[in-house]
Amino acid sequence: MFELPVLLGSFSESQSLVRKKLRYRYRNEIKNQYKRIKIHDENGQLTPESSHTELDDHESRSRVCRGRKRRLYDLRDREEHGFESDSSEAQDEVGDLPEKEEEEIGHEERKYFKNHEKPEDLYEVWHVATERRKVPIQRQFVSYNRLQTIERRAKRKMEVPLLHVSRVRSSEFSAEIDGYDVVSRGDETTHFENKHIQLLVTLLHRHISTENWNLAYKVFALLIRMPRVDIRAVWNLGVAILARRDSTTAIDFLEWMHSVYSNKHRFIQNVNHRLPPAFRSGSRTHTAQYTTTWLWLSLRAATEQAQEGAPTTLEPLELLTDKTSELLLTPPYMDDSEVWFIYCSCYFVKADILSRNIHSDLTHNVHAFSSSTMDLRRNEVVQSITRCQKTLHTAEEKSDQARHRAHAYWELPTGYIKRQLQQIEKRLTAQSTPRDQPSSPAHYENYGLGDTELAEDQADIDAFPIEEDNSFLQALDTQPLSDNFL
């Protein structure tokens, strides 16, 4: 039912590779045939003419003798499409496969997908309709007879590769190109390892959905110990389970993911990823999902700890700030507005908590602190505020850049944060003025991704940062200090 989180190179894998290879080879062959008769099918295949013309074809075939018929069709085609008629079939029998294509036979799939864009930050292949890439819809028709010729030739080209595959595979292939759906024997694998992995994945999903966390944990722990399992395909489920009990384990696990799978290579368009790269890996231009999740989760944990009130509890927050600042020096993160925004949030939380402490001290016992200590503490807050503003500005810039490049981008709650910063500033001086009520958490709704295509990402982000900052704000609201004003 679920796809196997395994790396390449298993038995069943090789079987499906053979199938894929045949399919794409045929598809490329068809494309070549179209090219030969100079029809462009760059944006989708041509539509065959309606069935009544097909009947006409048959009638005319019975009426007209063969030689004449062909000339007739060639003429008609020329009239219809304004194209040169195809070269005679004799040439086709010579087998004029260019040598270059012979070399690439092993990479039929790659060749096919060369014409498709595979954005790495999205889950699926999108035919992105940016201004640059706009293409008209394929409106051309192809006569039924001509389509048959094309298919016949492509089939003839397939004879040689079909010679070497098993009989089952070749009959499956011929059924597929005739438009039948081959009923496979399910995703039933008989391979030992795959069978157990498949079962484990099924059990994992089942127990997560029924919220049986104890069993789900056990399944997950076993699954990552199975040979050949790629943990990058199941890390999200693992975090969901681990975070259920203790967020520190989840954060440790994500940190492990980040340190082990910190891929900084370039994303290569030509590679056809078996599992979608968006959630599985990072590259030089794309921050891995587990890294951002790790940062968000640790920000949440640090905020929660800082709110407890003890003076040492700012440590995890500062540690996180240091880590983020280090990350921001290297390629994928330095251009990612999300990471910049996390960095900004670190300062924001710090400024807020420090200012709150000052405020409560001021209102409770005004003369307890010497003015110089107070100045130092104020300076710290001011520093945080300026840093926050600075980083927010950078995050905005990066987000704008991403938008211009038609990538996924962040719409940042700039206005809200700025307003909040102003209030924090007021706290420093407000000794007797009543404290402004912070705006309601609903303002955070304009938070998150602007790109509607990224609904999944949105959900992901919804789950972590918003909730966590909300709780932080709500905690702010219910602080006893507001009562003291009344």
């Binding site: 008989t190 030992f192 104890n214 384990t249 492990w256």
Partner: protein, 538 residues
């Protein structure tokens, strides 16, 4: 004025830069990569303020050994020694000899497993050796490399018009026909010779529950052999997927043919215990044992069912293999005895419909009742549960597994697959990967207090106790009043219907046990029925 100096290509992370300059005494490329091992102390004080404004940080990681490296390169992670060992592979005649040796090694492991874990008799390994020596004789007589019959082969090729067939034939000529399944058949045949009460079913069950050295058997070979054997041969010795009943029958037939088993050995299977087992598994009354025996004696004139020889790749005479034959006779005797029983209307029926109904109710409620039973499950039920996973007629979806059943499976997986594999796997990883792996396993241990789970231990219910319980359950459901319907005797259709349904259920059970698809099983029964009718007529 540019301060860059043209030099070699930087190459770090595919950096294309050829331009270098000196920053703080280190040679740095246009994009900020520092040249390794090149430190230059700049004595010119003039340049310092000019260059001091440029700062770049280099992403340094440490390798496992504590030294710095600028970034992970795929080429760096590959152990250089592994590439050298590629050349150690041997080919041709030497490889064949080594392969035979390896095969023998696995055969010995398997037979010693049976000896120690399944209480096989002491003589068993000797018989295995005998069968194997007969097989070796066949290999020796048909060795294409030794006989050097290539020229003849080529003559043959011209006669075969179909190129597909030519490819196939050439492939076959070079093969020894040995793989891990052959070793299982040799063990099976040795058991047949000793008339041990083990059948194809048992071997498949042992294979599926992974205790038998079959799956990844090539990992158990000595390391040097593994390195030297070509991958093709290693693949032959790696039981990747579960053996199905039909494959097993086919392989047995070919091994029988090759070892000339029928001439040299005792070739009839242990009939009584197989029938007994069938009766026990279907919880039929013990009378059916005698019915089946009588029927076999009547039709076949003897109770000797020999294993059949055939070396055809297109072997499909499954109804002639002894096990299938016995199963077919058993099903037929069940059907015919009960049907003829009902036709005698003037007498009282020997087997009441009530009993049939109770049996039916028991069989349908089988799956549920099993999950309800106590923790004290036997190892037998566990291995059955796992075998079910691989069987062709897989009816139970793991999604519907009860918590206890799931836990039972997970514990089994932990002890047999994961823990066994982990030691093998760590050898193939580099030291970095190993450390990362260990860290992960420490982070996510198999057992934590945060996610507590009840512990289950396999009980020690014997086969006899299990059987007793089953019969008691049938007996209990016979007492169930809801099953008693008055005046059922008048409706003869209902009885026939019940019999047909029960027969189908038995076929399901047997097909799952013997790993044979339902259609083949039904076909076997049909063919045997025809055979019986012919015999009776003549």
């Amino acid at each position: 004025m540019s301060t860059f100096i043209r030099g070699p290509v930087c190459g770090t992370d595919n950096c294309p830069s050829r331009l270098w300059r000196v920053i703080a005494g280190r040679r740095t490329c246009q994009y900020g990569h520092v040249m390794e091992g090149d430190i230059e102390f700049n004595n010119d004080e003039d340049d310092v303020p000019q260059l001091g404004s440029m700062t770049r940080r280099l992403n340094l990681t440490t390798t496992a050994l504590g030294t710095f490296q600028s970034s992970f390169n795929a080429s760096q992670l590959v152990d250089p020694s592994s590439t050298k060992e590629q050349h150690k592979k041997i080919f041709g005649y030497d490889a064949r000899i080594l392969f035979l040796k390896a095969f023998q090694f696995i055969l010995r492991k398997q037979s010693s497993y049976l000896l120690h874990h399944k209480n096989f008799p002491q003589e068993f390994p000797i018989v295995v050796k005998l069968v194997w020596s007969h097989y070796l004789k066949y290999v020796n007589d048909n060795d294409p490399l030794a006989n050097a019959t290539f020229s003849e082969d080529e003559d043959d090729d011209d006669e075969i018009p179909n190129s597909r067939a030519r490819i196939r034939q050439r492939g076959r000529a070079n093969k020894l026909g040995l793989n891990i399944n052959t070793s299982v058949t040799i063990l099976y045949l040795a058991a047949v010779h000793l008339r041990l009460p083990v059948y194809t079913e048992d071997f498949i069950q042992w294979i599926c529950s992974s205790s038998f050295p079959y799956y990844k058997a090539n990992d158990q070979l000595p390391k040097i052999w593994q390195k030297r054997l070509p991958n093709y041969y290693l693949g032959l010795l790696n039981g990747g997927r579960a053996l199905t009943g039909t494959q097993f029958c086919k392989k047995i037939a070919s091994t029988v043919y090759r070892t000339n088993f029928n001439q040299h050995f005792q070739d009839t299977i242990n009939l009584p215990s197989l029938i007994f087992r069938l009766v026990g598994n279907t919880t039929l009354l013990p009378e059916f044992y005698f019915y089946t025996m009588a029927m076999i004696k009547r039709v076949e004139k003897s109770t000797d069912f020999p294993v059949i020889p055939s070396d055809k790749p297109s072997f499909n005479a499954y109804h002639q293999t002894p096990e299938m034959k016995v199963i077919a006779y058993f099903i037929l005797s069940f059907r015919w005895v009960l049907l003829s029983d009902s036709s005698r209307k003037h007498k009282k029926q020997t087997f009441s419909s009530n009993w049939l109904r109770a049996l039916k109710a028991f069989q349908t409620g089988w799956q549920d009742s099993e999950s309800v039973t106590d923790d004290n499950y036997s190892n037998d039920t566990l291995s059955k549960q796992i075998t079910e996973l691989f069987s062709a007629s897989d009816k139970t979806d793991p999604i519907d597994w009860s918590e206890r059943k799931t836990l039972r499976y997970l514990n089994w997986l932990q002890t047999t697959v994961v823990e066994k594999q982990s030691s093998l796997r760590t050898n193939s990883l580099t030291i970095d990967q190993n450390i990362a792996q260990r860290k992960l396993h420490k982070l996510i241990p198999l057992k934590t207090d945060q996610f507590p789970l009840p512990t289950t231990t396999p009980g020690n219910i014997t086969y006899v106790e299990d059987l007793q319980e089953k019969y008691l359950k049938v007996r209990a459901s016979l007492d169930d009043d809801t099953l008693h319907v008055d005046a059922f005797d008048t409706k003869s259709n209902e009885r026939e219907d019940l019999i047909a349904r029960l027969e189908y259920q038995f076929l399901c059970i047997i097909s799952a046990q013997f790993f044979v698809p339902m259609d083949i099983l039904e076909d076997c029964v049909r063919r045997t029925e025809e055979h019986c009718l012919k015999q009776i007529e003549s």
